[in-house]
Amino acid sequence: MGLTNEHVQQRLQEKFGETLTDFQEPYGFLTFTAPKELNLKVLHFLYDDAELRFQFLTDLTAVHYPDRTGEELAVVYHVHNLVDNIRLRFKVFINIETPDVFTATNLYASANWMERETYDFYGVNFVGHPDLRRILNVDEMDYFPMRKEYPLEDETRIDKDDEMFGRGGHYDYGNTTDEATGSTVPESEQQKDTYPV
């Protein structure tokens, strides 16, 4: 248990200097942000360094931040040093228009499906991946469903107001009002003046 978060941070900063930013320790978990060109270099350094030995890839996923213009997608790596029992997490921000990052499959066999899953749901293009196909969704799908612009429910529904649940109104999912009438009451439930004879 010789390795501490401070030491790992220090080693990373020695190696990569100012390029790694936003070092934090939420809930005792060392986190930072790396530029997208360096994701593989950082992983390699963490893996190969005789002291750091982050040789277990716990998790790989992505997050969509629609508000961060120019770097909407974040690829998140969780790595674990099993010898010293220390974990760390880092993010790589990429533009949603050109979502390219290098693959980690040469380093971790486990990254293969995790990257396929991330591609499947967020459309992150892992450059150099041996077999980048959809994995959980059907092959014919032509969008990336976990991105925030895709609503969870049927877009044509106007009877559900999300104000009460989640972040309704924060993002416009396009299903809170009927554009034709400007009403949140569905047509079937609106009061009719005339009744069919």
Binding site: Y27, F56, L57, T58, D59, Y108, A109, G166, H170
Partner: protein, 412 residues
């Protein structure tokens, strides 16, 4: 139309197919021997497997997407449906993740009760897995025999939360109600009966010649490859790595208990069986110790079953009708009107199959901004084609059941 022409149109073989010496076999998606919806496209040379290609996602239910619109307490039922052989562990893992984010500290008695439930779940999980290996090697008896013990475990769940398979057990901060006397009596009955049953079950398989011949050397993996493939849980320990989340990052007061981590050597199906078997004995030991600790609480302490966090813990119904505060919190919780603190949490528990992780990002809203499940099955199933390469077709079935693949967990 002349006959040769008709034949030409009717059967279209790809070019060069006449020289093809291997056979393609679709194992699944619904095959009686695969216990779940799995498809494997096997390329066979005689009875030897040349290559295997897995298809997953048949029961994908988009839980991560659904979770982005739900308040925390409504996500618990989603976690039930990951590894449904041990849903209480998933539920507890999720509560612990929420508690970490919200900064809720649970009382010791709650921790111990949780450990009892989690270890019962681990036993029921391993029991199914190990007895199913028996079924796949041709021994049905063991499977039916241990079912009565699983039934008893399910009855204990039933007393605590009212349901059996998809349990939705516990709440953020503790349990929905205190354990009643029947639950404790059934637990005692289980502690009394189960060791004998497990011993008999063990005798049936452990040194059984047929079983050993079938499982030894089936789907072995080295520690190095297992780590590279992201193995966790019993499958990793069978390969000789003593990584257990309960010890490496203790949660829910696991640090108060003494237990061993069984490890294997070769990582083959037999070692996986043995590791699971030994883990059941260890779980039993933990349950005994935890039950003893629970009994040591006296007076008012013995009635504690949740933390005092009115913002997140649903009040008692009788208080809702009589007290203003309780009514307000009841309304706010049910309507999902409680904002949670912004932050990012990763929390892992030792699930039935390995490290079950929850990566939760909150932006301060009422539902998670992003929730990701680290599902151990999904990650280690990748190794299947490597494990079965060169093996016999019948080994492919055993490797699959000894990995304890649960379709619900794999597809998320």
């Amino acid at each position: 139309m002349s006959l040769p022409e008709l034949h030409k149109n009717h059967v279209r073989l790809p070019d060069g197919s006449i020289e093809k010496t291997t056979t393609t076999l679709n194992l699944g998606p619904t095959h009686p021997a695969t216990h779940g919806v799995f498809q494997n496209i096997l390329e066979l040379d005689g009875e030897r497997i040349v290559s295997a290609e897995q298809t997953v996602g048949y029961i994908h239910r988009a839980f991560e997407k659904i979770a982005e619109r739900r308040p925390l307490y409504q996500i618990t039922p989603l976690t039930d449906r990951l590894n449904y052989c041990s849903s209480p562990i998933n539920n507890m893992g999720w509560h612990l993740t929420c508690e970490k984010l919200l900064g809720v500290k649970t009382p010791k008695r709650v921790d111990y009760l949780r450990i009892i439930i989690m270890e019962l779940a681990r036993i029921s999980d391993h029991l199914i897995c190990n007895s199913v290996i028996g079924v796949d090697t041709g021994a049905f008896t063991g499977f039916l025999y241990v079912m009565q013990q699983r039934e008893l475990i399910y009855e204990i769940y039933e007393e605590v939360c009212g349901s059996r398979l998809t349990t939705n057990i516990g709440r953020i901060g503790g349990f929905e109600r205190n354990f009643n006397d029947i639950a404790f009596r059934k637990l005692e009955q289980f502690l009394e009966e189960y060791p004998k049953v497990l011993k008999e079950f063990e005798n049936l398989f452990k040194r059984n010649r047929i079983f050993m011949e079938r499982t030894i050397g089936a789907g072995p993996i080295s520690a190095d490859r297992a780590l590279n493939y992201g193995f966790t849980g019993p499958n990793l320990r069978a390969a000789g790595v003593d990584y257990d989340v309960r010890v490496h990052a203790p949660y829910s007061s696991y640090e108060d208990f003494e237990f061993n981590i069984p490890v294997g050597k070769t990582g083959d199906s037999y070692d996986r069986f043995l590791v699971r078997n030994d883990e059941m004995w260890e779980s039993l030991k933990i349950i005994r110790a935890a039950y003893q600790k629970v009994q040591e609480f006296k007076g008012a302490e013995a009635e504690v079953f949740h933390a005092d966090v009115p913002e997140y813990y649903l009040p008692q119904k009788k208080d809702v009708y009589t007290k203003m505060e309780a009514l307000i919190y009841h309304f706010k919780i049910i309507m999902g009107e409680i904002d949670m603190p912004a932050g990012e949490v990763y929390h892992a528990v030792e699930g039935g199959n390995g490290e079950l992780g929850f990566y939760l990002i909150s932006d301060g809203g009422r539902a998670p901004f992003r929730l990701h499940f680290r599902r151990p099955c999904f990650i280690y199933y990748q190794a299947y084609s490597e494990l079965t390469k060169g093996a016999m077709l019948s080994d492919a079935i055993i490797v699959m059941s000894s990995l304890n693949l649960i379709a619900g967990e794999m597809d998320g």
